[in-house]
Symmetry: C2
Subunit: 419 residues, 2 copies
Amino acid sequence: MKRKRVVILGATGSIGESALKVARDIPERMEIVGLAANRNAEKLAEAANKVRPESICLVDETKIDILRKALDYEPRIFAGEEGLREIACLTNGEMVLVAIVGTGGLRPALAAIEAGKDLAVASKEILVMAGEIVMREARESGVHVLPVDSEHNAIFQCLEGKLFESRKRPTPNSESFREQAIEHPTSNADNSALDVFDVRRIILTASGGPFRELASNKFDSITPEQALKHPTWNMGPKITIDSATLFNKGLEMIEAHWLFGVEMKRVEVVIHPQSIVHSMVEFADGSTLAQLSYSDMCFPIQYAVTWPYRVPNTLPPLDFSKLSKLEFFRPRYGDFPALNLARRAGEAGGTLPAVMNATNEVAVAAFLDRQVSFPSIWQIVEEVMNRHASVAHPDLDAILQADQWARAEATGCVKSLKR
Amino acid sequence: MKRKRVVILGATGSIGESALKVARDIPERMEIVGLAANRNAEKLAEAANKVRPESICLVDETKIDILRKALDYEPRIFAGEEGLREIACLTNGEMVLVAIVGTGGLRPALAAIEAGKDLAVASKEILVMAGEIVMREARESGVHVLPVDSEHNAIFQCLEGKLFESRKRPTPNSESFREQAIEHPTSNADNSALDVFDVRRIILTASGGPFRELASNKFDSITPEQALKHPTWNMGPKITIDSATLFNKGLEMIEAHWLFGVEMKRVEVVIHPQSIVHSMVEFADGSTLAQLSYSDMCFPIQYAVTWPYRVPNTLPPLDFSKLSKLEFFRPRYGDFPALNLARRAGEAGGTLPAVMNATNEVAVAAFLDRQVSFPSIWQIVEEVMNRHASVAHPDLDAILQADQWARAEATGCVKSLKR
């Protein structure tokens, strides 16, 4: 494979750092042509000085001078939300890794798709809020949407890129198989690429977070410090809290639904505390494929970049003699309501997933700010979801409007619950 | 897919029974057009009366009258070794499932390949003894060799049939990927289909058998009854003893080497007592894919028949909430010498794998007959392997000659060890 020319949106975050590490690890296969960050000018300059991309972007325009001073070379500099869309569409870029926390990645992602760039998606919001739009636009532009979440990347590996072959079957060399391939009935539904692969269930694994075994009557006293201690993954604060509430898994259920074109009822969750099996696919014949590796985001990021190739790297492979055991449990649905709320949002569709997502963001911030209790996060999300009149097949404006509405409602809920 | 027309060689054995079960389970996808057995005329007739294939075959010609009397319809009847080759080449057959214990499947398998039939291989001997010949003939005839062993079928699933795409890559819909696919360097070696899929290791799982945790100083007193109690799989006696000595896994290492075109050094074994993960593939990027299901041969048999399709059936899928835990351990190489002997045979190639296989057959029979101790099986195999002057790139005659030589040598060893 040639070097893939990648633009990273969210270069200073946890995923961005891992992506920079991957680029250092496989320099012949990955070239960074653009780096964008929200407001951390110093860290962006530091990364840019090392990697020396042709273009960089800082969303916070007030810090452009700090950025300029900290740079030791002269890249093209983009600024603001508009700059983020521009750097996503760089003529020189082939793939855009969207790793911006929150809704900020949505417009640049759609701009990149329109410009014919493949998308590597790390920001859950993109598919949770606008999965229908993003997947439709990607199909129409003929670009790929590659998952960077370890779970979705695992599923993608279990399907071995077949997602993009759509109606095509492996092309073996005997006539009898070729005939069968032609005769195989396919569905006419729009997002049914997977029908032909006969997927029965997508099984997302969840570590269960730090409170997997905690009695629910102790949830009220959980502190932000306790919730920020994730047992297996080292991630940013928002996603770490989401792992503790299981909203992270809930968002991933909706993501999987859009990404792989499977109905919500076929998306399930199993608790797997070791975070070695990153997710599984159960096929129509009762056989299951699973992807395994140590918990390091470099694995899925690299595969999103190098797919369909497997490229040697310095990441440690699994040592099965040290692995010893892998456990699987049924989630505590009653005690962790996030999963059922997400299923409800995903099944209803429309603007409800965006509302769930926005409300959760506000509630998590309030919990981290010690304004509300840990279980209040679920309570606030449910309350705002109940109040919402969902719009079916919304356009981007309707989605962003629902997002704003939900934030206002959530803020109101936080105030009423403040302790 | 159309109904696949299948001939079963070894219809009255354990795999044959499972294959009949699969045909009953998915009648729209699998049709049995031929059934063959070695000497169990009654059981063959019973199966034939139910399934009513057009053709049946009994190798033991002295029992043809018994067979005829037990039949309640009039199929075409083949007899003898020659009949076995003929039924393997039926005009009406598309796939031949070779499930004959021992070397008897070798000539019919080669005949089927020559006649353009796809092969579903359950008899380890075929690939262990003549992997080089079988895979070469299959390539030249443009037929598929599909693995029925649960381990190799698992690996096949992890590679998702890519084995047969050879140099071809998934054909995604963007220009950049298409260019890369063309540019991707491929090896020129003959059996290197997998090079392009960047497989780093094939990891065969082994239950470890009933003596996985037994102290080696107690091996001497192991009885056939104890050795025949397999903890997770219900199989025939020969393969059950092979599972206890780990020669089964040793034979599978050599099978994997030929079937997937990977060097012996890339084929590894890990002990997995639950027999849920049936094998794994570690790719060049350190990521691993695994196939999981309950231990039932119907899973791999069906996939071999329906590939590349996944066909709904009545087999129970995994219940992860009940699965609870999967364990992995390093094999006790020193205490179970079969693995290292098999690696040595596979690396040496030539006639040595056939010698190992034949000697093991004689030694297992002697153990079951209480003539020699359990650890004598390893001792006899090593002794005869040491005595053998291997022939490189042997033809079928040289292989069968080595097989005969080894049986005579092994019988001598048994006599000298008799207790």
